[in-house]
């Protein structure tokens, strides 16, 4: 355990890189959006009409962290005689911790957004129409689990680059494109595209945003573990 803590402390040595970036992004996004609508004025506009995609900034800015960890901090940690196991455990802890932080933090921002009637300018940054939950913790799950799925996926991509290099990334990209093309083609040919859409629409929102992303976490997490256990430095 002390080894894992050690590895985690090294990962958190630059919290600005490992933790804070998405929070800067969402903060700036909120500022820009509210500033924009404040200039536009007309605060009587319907609350529902000012939905923005600013939340994407949060997710988009968090995709670089894991590849950095896998490709820059991992070799350096190994040089400092951190064990592979400790590094992997620390990374898993970091991913989990960041997801919890993202869930609770975004849910809290969401509460503020609702309480202030959309940051006083009737805008929707977090309280998006399809993901609203009445329960605070359910809302946290809806924000947090997709975050975790995303970071796990980026960790996997980072590990692919670590192990197979540029070619691995290329093969992964082509592979994903090919598999999706095949899946879409099958769905089209069997006229079942609508069924898929209908399936997800008919599921409880919590399942769509928490349960299925969790399956992605398991999938990418396993792939990541397998790759990192054989990663060379």
């Amino acid at each position: 355990m002390t080894e894992t803590i050690k590895a985690l402390r090294i990962q958190l040595l630059k919290p600005g890189v490992t933790v804070a970036v998405p929070w800067y992004s969402i903060g700036i996004a909120i500022l820009i959006v509210t500033g924009l609508f404040a200039v536009v004025g007309d605060t009587t506009a319907p609350y529902s009409g000012r939905t923005t995609g600013a939340l994407c900034a949060f997710y988009a800015s968090s995709i670089g962290v894991q590849p950095w960890l896998m490709n820059q901090l991992f070799p350096f940690s190994m040089a400092l005689s951190v064990t592979r196991r400790a590094f992997i455990r620390a990374t898993a802890l970091l991913i989990l911790g960041e997801a919890v932080l993202a869930g609770l933090g975004l849910a809290l921002l969401n509460k503020i957004e609702i309480a202030t009637h959309g940051w006083f300018v009737h805008t929707r940054v977090l309280n998006l129409p399809h993901i609203h939950q009445d329960d605070f913790f359910a809302q946290a799950l809806v924000y947090g689990v997709p975050t975790m799925a995303l970071t796990t996926a980026t960790a996997f991509v980072g590990a692919v680059f670590r192990v197979f290099g540029q070619f691995g990334l290329w093969a992964l990209g082509v592979g994903i494109a090919f598999v999706s093309a095949v899946v879409v083609a099958i769905l089209m040919l069997t006229h079942s595209m609508g069924h898929v859409g209908h399936f997800f629409a008919s599921q409880p929102m919590l399942a769509d945003f928490a349960l299925y992303p969790l399956a992605l976490v398991a999938l990418f997490g396993t792939g990541w573990l397998v790759l990192m256990s054989r990663a060379r430095v």
Partner: protein, 285 residues
């Protein structure tokens, strides 16, 4: 007890045999020079000793335990590689901060002194450092970590002669005060000939020579003179190299046979010459 014991170590990677049944024991509290050509297997051996790579077969023990994923061993080990990579967005001082977290014996005051010696800019980003400054970062981490087993693999890429001398001086100084097991892998054999106490020569994944450095000194000689006289003098001694020109013969001998006959001149070989000749001879076999 030996600090490092390796028995019949083999490492294959993607069809390439990097280590081929290598056996070696390294005494504790000694400066070992690990010599050999590029691709001889030195780096692979050091990576296995420090748990960065896993052996295909054989026995590896560091401080009496296998190093593989073993914190009890790795906590006592520090390995600075040739062209060691650091997170590029780190500042110099952040690399040291990470080392301070990881290395149990880290001495920050000593690291600060070394930073001054090497005139390293603490607040500069790693990616903006010159090649030599980057090497200095590794050297400082390796020295200030004060790990019971410290391995330097060609640590001075891009470092000028003055900075290298600082490294040698600091290494000796600190080793004298705090003896520990140091492995120094290098191609600059003559530069380290006086520093190392023990020499290991690795070639084609095997140990070709495993000797006390001071014993080697002056033992191997280059003998030249009239062919007959030289041949008589060198009789029965292993010949490392021979060349002949118009009745005159020059041979390199692994050992000095004794008092030379008249007209035969005997010169000592430097460690570097000896290593080169031994490697060549090993390659021919």
């Amino acid at each position: 007890m030996s600090a490092v014991v390796v028995e019949d170590l083999t490492m294959r990677y993607r069809g390439h045999t990097a280590l081929n049944g290598l056996s070696l024991a390294l005494e504790p509290d000694t400066v070992h020079g690990m010599l050999g050509r590029n691709g001889a297997g030195k780096t692979t051996l050091m990576r296995i000793l420090t748990g960065q790579e896993f052996e295909t077969s054989g026995r590896v023990e560091v401080f009496g335990q296998p190093p593989r994923e073993n914190p009890a061993v790795l906590n006592r080990v520090c390995f600075i590689r040739e062209a060691q990579r650091y997170p590029s967005n780190y500042k110099v001082r952040e690399a040291f901060a990470a080392a301070a977290i990881a290395c149990r014996n880290w001495d920050q005051a000593y690291a600060d002194r070394l930073v001054k010696d090497f005139e390293l800019p603490r607040d500069r980003q790693i990616k903006k450092l010159s090649r030599g400054q980057l090497s200095a970062v590794g050297i400082i981490i390796g020295l200030a970590a004060r790990a019971p087993l410290t391995l330097f693999d060609e640590p001075y890429l891009g470092l000028d002669a003055v900075a290298r001398q600082i490294f040698y001086d600091r290494l000796l100084e600190d080793f004298a005060e705090r003896p520990r097991t140091i492995v120094l892998s290098t191609h600059l054999i003559d530069e380290v000939a006086d520093l190392v106490e023990h020499v290991v020569l690795i070639d084609h994944g095997k140990v070709l020579m495993d000797q006390d450095a001071d014993q080697l000194r002056g033992r191997a000689v280059s003998v030249s003179g009239p062919a007959e006289a030289v041949a008589a003098y060198a009789d029965g001694v292993p010949v490392l190299h021979r060349s002949e020109l118009g009745g005159r013969l020059r041979v390199a001998l692994a050992e000095r046979p004794g008092r030379p006959a008249r007209d035969v001149s005997v010169d000592s070989l430097t460690l570097q010459e000896l290593i080169v000749l031994t490697t060549n001879q090993g390659d021919r076999k």
